[in-house]
Symmetry: C2
Subunit: 347 residues, 2 copies
């Protein structure tokens, strides 16, 4: 079944995952198309963004966003078109950015929805990626916490992904030596040849930590943390005095059920932060930097238009493929910003 | 033997400690009094500062300061008097702040020595405490990384100590609820009754974590970290969103030989930093904030003079008591800023 005018397909959280999500955690159901009240809009999803943070919301423990309720629709940023408007500022056909979730139709309150600017309509889905939450996360974390200086070395993992690709390209513009980490030779080639990173290391290589050290002969001044796990372990001994670690995600840890047995490395980490005078700081883009969105768009928009920052989308067709695509995202199977094409530009 | 004009007593690092330092790690030896060359001063130690960071320097692994060599004199900040000067800016009798180490006499280069200002001469030893490195550490870590706001809750351990006492009192001046942690009821009484903290919890109490939680009903916004260990463990679950953790020391961890077996809590810590958007930052006062010393003195000097910030010294007589006093410092046996009185104001 494709998107149509008569029914709202929606993917709900059927059960909470134990460790890695599986298809049975999701359920596709259909229902009536909701009707907007005064001040509301009926919005039809064209593009749905899939992002690692959604894994945290599938647990019932508080993550940085509240959990999704069981049998509630999975949340997610969307680029949508107005189908019906009961607010004077919006007309049918308008393109908007919304948090519509994994479904065909959603209601939006006019205050919580933003119209895409005219110059965004060539690539509406970029409002979910390079010019949206992931690009904004990359830019602010790098600039405000990472504070790159010419000649410094930056490392970022998931380097071909929505955040990592932007972090590295902006750091290059700021004069850094940039080393990416990605899964597989194809992604690594893209990262160096297309995105212009100085090096990219395949984290699947058995001598990954050794290769990373070789690629960072002057140590690491900025580690933009979005994965955790073995990459962080390899980065730790390479950190320089006064290094900065902006921390926006820990995708490798999201599926961990329990802490692993072994040595307790908490004192190791705090000891390194102390001895090397390191700043490590978690942030969530909307809460911490929402007020600086204009600054981001005014900078990134021209960079993208001029080709100074490149972007790649991994566009998956059809809403019912969202669960499998999301499971793959957590395993690094996507190549570029993962977006679901839920419906056509017009119905 | 007391300090005299004929011999230089010095305490050297005889062997590196395995875990806790023991008296045999130190050796008191005597030697000739050194002779200054052109541009140098001969300095006689009056007060020697003993501080937890010295433990790190006794290891041969790099800490935030380079290790003390075996059979070299233990380093340490001193308030000294000029005995002989071969530099035009200094005269015999001048009081200076120096890094003279655990010995009666040291040579100083004029550029590395600072004269005590006139108004410091009433309490020359305060240049090693409230108006020196520990006070400066407390002030800058709190103001620049902690960024206290009215109504927030701050926790600091070693609350009767050289750094903790200042952190808490300044945070009170900034309108925070301030909860100290100290060892024993006597110290806790001093912290609340004399220093004016809102509460002080004895970390030796079997229900310490529970008591700390009760004293922080609104959670913790700033944890000024100078101890690590069980205090940090109790603080972790109480941290609020957007909390800040200035990190200037980990005294509880300094004697750890090996990481303990158990669960690896490194991902636990990074997960909390991410979900709660916490800034954790190690710093070393001279390297990170040396250029802001004047700002500190201009603020703290008047506060101390007006009695708004109080200080307490634990003054131990005689250089040969330094090793035992230092061992006690690492066990929390001191009560206030630990200073060794090495010699008289005059010889």
């Amino acid at each position: 079944m494709n998107q149509n005018k008569n029914v709202n397909r929606r993917i709900v959280l059927a059960s909470r995952p134990e460790g890695k999500p599986v298809p049975d955690n999701f359920h596709l159901e259909t229902g009536d198309i909701p009707r907007p009240e005064d001040g509301q809009l009926l919005l039809r999803t064209v593009y749905l963004s899939l992002d690692p943070y959604m894994r945290g919301r599938m647990n019932d423990t508080p993550s940085y966003a509240p959990p999704v309720e069981l049998n509630a629709v999975m949340g997610g940023g969307t680029v949508s078109r107005v189908e019906a408007s009961r607010h004077p500022d919006f007309r049918p056909g308008d393109w908007v950015l919304n948090y519509g979730g994994w479904q065909d139709y959603a209601l939006g309150n006019a205050e919580e929805v933003s119209k895409l600017p005219e110059d965004a309509l060539q690539h509406p889905s970029w409002a979910l990626g390079i010019l949206g939450m992931p690009g904004f996360t990359a830019y602010m974390g790098l600039m405000d916490i990472g504070r790159p200086k010419t000649g410094e070395t930056l490392v970022v993992a998931a380097a071909s992904g929505a955040v990592g690709a932007v972090v590295g390209q902006v750091a290059k513009l700021k004069g850094c030596r940039v080393v990416g980490v990605a899964g597989g030779q194809e992604k690594c080639r893209y990262v160096t040849q297309t995105l212009g990173f100085d090096a990219c290391i395949d984290h699947r290589a058995p001598d990954f930590a050794h290769q990373l050290a070789k690629a960072c002969p002057q140590g690491i001044d900025i580690y933009f943390e979005n994965v955790g796990g073995t990459v962080f372990d390899a980065v730790l001994p390479l950190l320089n005095t006064s290094a900065r670690i902006p921390l926006c995600g820990l995708i490798a840890n999201y599926n961990i059920k329990d802490l692993s047995e072994g040595l307790d490395r908490l004192p190791l980490l705090t000891g390194i932060l102390l001895r090397k005078r390191i700043r490590m700081q978690g942030f969530i883009i909307t809460q911490d930097y929402g007020h600086r969105r204009k600054e981001f768009l005014d900078t990134m928009g021209p960079w993208v238009a001029a080709g100074k920052v490149k972007t790649r989308e991994d566009l998956v067709e059809e809403l019912d493929n969202a669960p499998q695509a999301f499971i793959g995202l957590l395993e690094g199977k996507n190549f570029g910003k993962l977006v679901i094409r839920v419906g056509g530009d017009t119905l």
